[in-house]
C-alpha cells in the first residue's frame, strides 16, 4: 500500500522517469536496428573470407557485459577521451550510445542467423519469378521478419532492463538521466524495497506493451507491397 501511495504522490516524477527510459532505450533500439539489420543481412546473404570470424565476434559481443560497455563509452566521452569535447558524459546521449553498443550486436547476430537460414531457397524463388538482385534481397529480408523482429525485441529488452552502463555514463541524475532501472537501484539502496518492486512491475508492464505493439504491427508487414 505504501508503494501505491508513493507512486501516486510521485506520479509526475515517475512519468518523467518512464518517458526518459522509453526515449533512451527506444532511440538506442532504433539506431541499432538501422545499423544491425543491414549489417546482419549483408553477413547472412554473402559468403566471404573471414565470415566465420566476424560471426564469432558478433556473437561474443552479444554477451558484452553492460558495465564494460559503459566503461568503454565513459572512457571515450570523458574529458581526456577522444570525444571529450562533446561533453556528452552524464547526459541521455551517452546512455543511448552505451545501449547501442549492447543492442547492435544482438540485432546483427539474430538478423544474420534469421536471414542465412532462409536465404538460398527464397532468393532462388524470387529470382525465378523475375526479381532483380535487390528485389530478391528485400524479399529474403521480408520473409525473415519473424527472426529479425525477435532480434529487435530482444535488443529492446536488453536495453530497457540494463542498469550497469546507464548508471556509469548517465550518473542517475534526478530529473535528467534517471531511468527506471537506476531508480530501482536507488530505492533499493535506500531500503524502499516496495517502491523498488513497484518500479520493476512498471518496467515489466511497459516492456509487455511495447512487445505487443511491435508484434501486432508485424502481422501487417508482408509482401503485399513489394
Amino acid at each position: 500500500m505504501d508503494a501505491i501511495q508513493f507512486l501516486i504522490q510521485q506520479q509526475s516524477e515517475i512519468i518523467e522517469i518512464v518517458l526518459l527510459s522509453l526515449l533512451v532505450s527506444g532511440s538506442a533500439t532504433i539506431i541499432s536496428a538501422l545499423i544491425g539489420i543491414p549489417l546482419g543481412a549483408w553477413i547472412g546473404l554473402n559468403n566471404f573470407v573471414g565470415k566465420g570470424l566476424l560471426l564469432r565476434i558478433v556473437y561474443t559481443l552479444m554477451a558484452l557485459p553492460p558495465v564494460l560497455a559503459g566503461l568503454v563509452v565513459y572512457l571515450i566521452l570523458s574529458r581526456s577521451g577522444p570525444l571529450g569535447e562533446l561533453e556528452w558524459l552524464f547526459t541521455p546521449s551517452a546512455m543511448v550510445i552505451a545501449q547501442c553498443l549492447l543492442v547492435t550486436p544482438i540485432i546483427t547476430g539474430l538478423s544474420a542467423a534469421a536471414i542465412a537460414s532462409k536465404e538460398g531457397i527464397i532468393y532462388d524463388h524470387a529470382r525465378s519469378l523475375g526479381a532483380t538482385r535487390m528485389q530478391a534481397v528485400w524479399t529474403v529480408i521480408s520473409e525473415s521478419r519473424t527472426g529479425i523482429i525477435a532480434g529487435i525485441m530482444t535488443g529492446f529488452g536488453r536495453a530497457f532492463a540494463e542498469v550497469g552502463a546507464v548508471m556509469l555514463v548517465g550518473g542517475n541524475i534526478r530529473h535528467y538521466t534517471r531511468v527506471l532501472t537506476t531508480a530501482i537501484i536507488l530505492e533499493t539502496r535506500q531500503g524502499n524495497f516496495e517502491m523498488g518492486v513497484a518500479l520493476g512491475v512498471i518496467l515489466l508492464i511497459l516492456s509487455f506493451i511495447v512487445s505487443s505493439i511491435v508484434l501486432l504491427n508485424a502481422k501487417d508487414f508482408n509482401l503485399g507491397e513489394v
Binding site: 531457397i121 527464397i122 532462388d124 524463388h125 524470387a126 529470382r127 525465378s128 519469378l129 523475375g130 526479381a131 532483380t132 528485389q135 524479399t139 520473409e143 521478419r145 519473424t146 508482408n222 509482401l223 503485399g224 507491397e225 513489394v226
Partner: protein, 243 residues
C-alpha cells in the same frame, strides 16, 4: 527457330563435373522430360537455363536471342521463363499476394494484376483459397499456388524441377492436368525434371536422358520408352543401370 540451343555447357562443383553438354537443341511448344539418376545434372541444367546457377563454360541461345554468351547473362530473357521447384516456397502472406508477386515486381497496373491473378488462381482451381494464408496450405495446394504464381507471368517456358515428387497420386494428377492444359491452351514449352518414368510417359513429347552430366539420349518419348537406341537408356529403363 529452336527454344534453346545449348553448346559446350559445363558445370564443375569441387573438381566434379556435374554437367557436360556438347550440343543440345530443344524445340518450342514441346513437353520435355529430363530423366536420369540422382546426381546426373538434371536440376543443375534447369537452374542454368533459369540463370540461377552460373556454368563454368558454354553458350545458350534462347528463341531469338542469346540467354548466355561467354559468361554474359540476359536476365530480361530469363524473365520469359519461370521455374517451379520440388518444394515450393510460399511467401508468408495470402495466396493472392503470392500469385501477385511477380506481377508487382514488373510494376503492372493494379487492375491488370487483379484480373490476371484471379484468372491464374481459377486456372489452378484454388479460387476458394484466394485470401487464405499460403503457408497453411497442404503440399499439393502449395504446388498449385506455385504453378499459378509462375503461369500468371505467361512464361514461354515452364521449368519444372520434380514438381510432384512429394505428392499423393491425386495431387500428381491435378498438377499434371494443369501443366497439360496450359501447354495445350497457350503453347507453353515445358521442361520437366522427373524421376517418375510413368509421369514422363504420360506427359512428355520428348525425353532427354542425362547420366553423369552427359546427354545419353534425346529422342521422341514413344521411341525412348518402346525402342531405346542406347544401351544405357535400356539399362536405365530396366532398372539395371549401375552408376
Amino acid at each position: 527457330m529452336n527454344l534453346f540451343e545449348i553448346t559446350h555447357l559445363t558445370k564443375v562443383y569441387r573438381d566434379r563435373t556435374v554437367l557436360s553438354i556438347d550440343k543440345l537443341y530443344l524445340e518450342r511448344e514441346r513437353i520435355y522430360a529430363v530423366l536420369g539418376p540422382n546426381g546426373a545434372g538434371k536440376s543443375t541444367l534447369l537452374r542454368i537455363l533459369n540463370l540461377l546457377v552460373e556454368p563454368d563454360s558454354g553458350d545458350i541461345k534462347f528463341v531469338d536471342g542469346q540467354l548466355l554468351k561467354q559468361g554474359h547473362k540476359s536476365y530480361d530473357m530469363a524473365r520469359r521463363m519461370c521455374m517451379v521447384f520440388q518444394r515450393p516456397l510460399m511467401f508468408s502472406t495470402s495466396v493472392y499476394n503470392n500469385v501477385a508477386y511477380g506481377l508487382r515486381l514488373r510494376k503492372l497496373p493494379h487492375r491488370e494484376i487483379e484480373r490476371r491473378v484471379s484468372e491464374a488462381i481459377d486456372f489452378v482451381g484454388m479460387q476458394d483459397f484466394i485470401n487464405y494464408p499460403a503457408t497453411k496450405l497442404s503440399g499439393g495446394e502449395m504446388q498449385r499456388v506455385a504453378l499459378a504464381r509462375a503461369l500468371v507471368l505467361r512464361p514461354e517456358v515452364l521449368l519444372l524441377d520434380e514438381p510432384t515428387a512429394n505428392l499423393d497420386p491425386h495431387s500428381v494428377q491435378v498438377i499434371e492436368e494443369i501443366v497439360r492444359k496450359h501447354h495445350q491452351q497457350f503453347g507453353t514449352s515445358v521442361i520437366m525434371v522427373t524421376h517418375n518414368l510413368f509421369q514422363a510417359k504420360r506427359m512428355a513429347d520428348e525425353v532427354i536422358l542425362l547420366v553423369g552430366g552427359e546427354v545419353v539420349e534425346k529422342s521422341n518419348a514413344e521411341d525412348f520408352f518402346n525402342n531405346p537406341s542406347n544401351e544405357r537408356s535400356k539399362a536405365f529403363l530396366d532398372g539395371t543401370m549401375v552408376y
